[in-house]
């Protein structure tokens, strides 16, 4: 049995790399998928289609191009990890979590203790809350190898 794990959220720290290294070291039957994590590329995803002076429509156009990828990967994943850092609004991560919850996909949240309270609805529908990437690797090890 091979497991596909979607990684959602923060793009300004190396948590994805830590998960990948940890899973590789343990040789777990796990593949990771992700949104495009290059911020500038992501913001410009739709620019080739039409130039827009209006900021809303530029964002709208790029957001929908990105969603071709993210919506598909969310629907294809077996498990997800949703990471919240200590900066920015990160509404896209909470939005992903809402989709995962409605689709019945089990997800693990990864965040500091400081933001427990504003994340209580997102954590309430999660299957686990981890504070470190190492904990996530441990959970994936437990879940994917018997």
């Amino acid at each position: 049995m091979h497991w596909t794990v979607y990684l959602s959220g923060e793009i300004h720290s190396d948590w994805r790399e830590q998960l990948e290294a940890g899973v590789k070291e343990l040789n777990l039957p796990v593949s990771f998928t992700s949104a495009v994590t290059n911020h500038e590329a992501s913001d410009a995803a739709g620019d080739l289609l039409m130039e827009n002076e209006n900021a809303f429509w530029r964002d709208h156009q790029s957001s929908k191009v990105n969603a071709i990828r993210t919506k598909s990967l969310i629907e294809m994943c077996d498990i997800a990890v949703v990471r919240f850092g200590d900066k920015y609004k990160q509404w896209n991560a909470a939005f992903d979590a809402g989709q995962l919850a409605a689709l019945g996909k089990p997800y693990i949240t990864l965040h500091d203790e400081k933001i427990i309270h504003p994340l209580k609805e997102v954590d309430g529908a999660a299957m686990a809350w981890a504070k470190t990437p190492a904990q996530v690797v441990e959970i994936l090890k437990y879940v994917t190898t018997a």
Copy 2:
């Protein structure tokens, strides 16, 4: 045809009251539903079940009690309005939007121009972006009366 409209998000301004007044004045065939909007009551929703010293579990317990209501109302609604104010993390609103998107429920976002960019994924899956409650009332009028 009667329409049920779920109101999600900000609880510190009177946008819900403005929508209700607007809809009442026009006599639209619309009923509104909402999460419990009393902040303290919502945080304490599960306290009667078990006292918890641990902040995470207290929030977890209350979050799940609240979700009995919100998850049901989200699934029962025909349309939703998701409001983002200028304060707080408001991850619960983005989480609701994610559920609405995955369930195929049409929703309208209601927020200032200043936060277009961090909301681009949430707006990307929305059917309309409004800046004022009055605009939402206009949309509801158009949509629910032919």
Copy 3:
């Protein structure tokens, strides 16, 4: 048992009125729903939200506001009638038919013999092809009264 029948397509002839008159005369247990059928109002549905110089985004904005209504009514209907006239592209009618087919909603097409061939895919998934509103009324009578 009461039946809700969604009427999709042509807005430049009086086929909707003929159906309503026919159903009323026979006192059938049928209610009709429809998109907004005022062409100008429909094109301007989103204008109150934001003015757009760009023709694509103006149409996009209005199209999504209209879809709040049409997508909901399509999902709520028991039966649909999809009408194709002899003018215009009418891609919205074929688009509605595709949604109806994918949702498993039984629909009746209403069109002249001249356009059988270009409509063959739409007719192939339909439950009946009628040439006149009177025939549709007859079908509704048969289907809704035993």
Copy 4:
């Protein structure tokens, strides 16, 4: 991750070949599927079952045989491209788009600026509007490789 992309619509220009060439050059992890694109073969798809003098039933019979293929491929695809040319009614393309929308499959429309208005409902539910096959190839590159 390999992606299956369904190509719907116009059969009288070489847009499919352009997409295939573009994707091959970039070595993208993409496979294309399509309806039978030979017009005569498609019209005659059911003729072997029964000869029909009646034009409606001949079309009906062939349409359903074709739908065995197209309905399956639509349900199996990850992404779709729906192409509208400048000739013919092309109701089958709009019908495909409606099915894609109702199934929650992300699709890209490919058409000239001249037909924005009649396609506004089809574009409203699309994730992107492209004017050239080269743009579609760019989007597929962005979406399928991170």
Copy 5:
């Protein structure tokens, strides 16, 4: 709680009337629905649309008109009773049973002991096998009143 019970199958005996009388006498919270049970009317259901010399297409056209009613009623019912008599092929009844099974609708079969063996697949997915209408009434009484 009110229950809608779909009655499928044999139209040449009075089992429907027996059920209705039994349910009325006990004043059960049950409404019955049915296909059109007039054989000639049912065979001619589509004749008003187009005359067909070809027997297959005449049947096809009527069958689809009838299915507007039956497919809807099957999807709307809470429980079904599927009756097999001792004559005719009655493939429509077995076809209804297959739809009910796939939709997860609980159904009761009503037939003589003589045809247990050929009905074993239909009975295997049923919730009960009754030999008489009186038994069905008893089951409905038990199920709908506590």
Copy 6:
């Protein structure tokens, strides 16, 4: 908004009556549904169809008749309460909980502290764990009135 609450489990104590009394006193917008709670009647539910010497088939026949009621009520409910007492195997209650979980229906468990450990999977998918009927009434009050 009216809420339907399915009551599953123990039939040898008066917890159902306590819930009904509590909800009545507070005049909550709640209706309760339940399996048949008369043990002998439930065991004999299918006996009228066929006498069975074999204990397995007698139970099988009655179990399926009961499931016509319980499966329907589970699918129709908005919320459920699943009660485990201190006696008997009560596998039917855990079986109901599994169905509720898979259908995404929010449920509250009601049981003593002594059986936390064997119920950990059932509680893990529940939205709340209550120790007394009075707590359940409080939760229902909170959830159904804003």
Copy 7:
């Protein structure tokens, strides 16, 4: 693209073998699945679990064991062929067709002209009616190779 085709119905003629030979000769990307087609083995499928004097329960037990296979294969198939011969009740074939219809699986019926009328509901939901295995092979060739 590889296609899985479920073969349902008649077990007393060699139509399955003809389909297999035809598909093999053309080297089509098609695999066939089927219920167990040995009549005696099928009737005895559950006998190892428990001996039953009662004919109904013996059939019931075997029918359910067979359904583990058939229900799974029906849900896994891309296309089905449902064959009706000139003998026996063949309610299992009509039952399979009903499941296929409700699941939205495209199926082809295979039967003589003599039984058009009793099969009109089964044919009405089919995508094609073939009179010979050779015609089915032609359809499969057309559908699975472009």
Copy 8:
């Protein structure tokens, strides 16, 4: 065709090993999946995330980590075997059976004659009841090889 079979329930006898040996000997196209069957490991599954003095939350945390695995495997399986031994509450097995039933996954129960009565609801929705692992192997042989 390869079949994935989920094994649920009792962890204190060697029934899983017997099934594996039997299937291996017959070289059946079957793979087995299971929850983590080490009792202590399972109870401690979430301990690495947070230490909990409160017994309920410790169980809750571990139960949800285990559910990441079990809920996924249940949804991925083609068939399940649910085993009830003669000790312990085993509510998790009945809970799994409820999920399987609601998802329409065919399952076989494996238990002694002594516990027929308390398991009647779980058996009522099962496709077969086996008393020995050898019988299960026979059923799997029959179902997976034609």
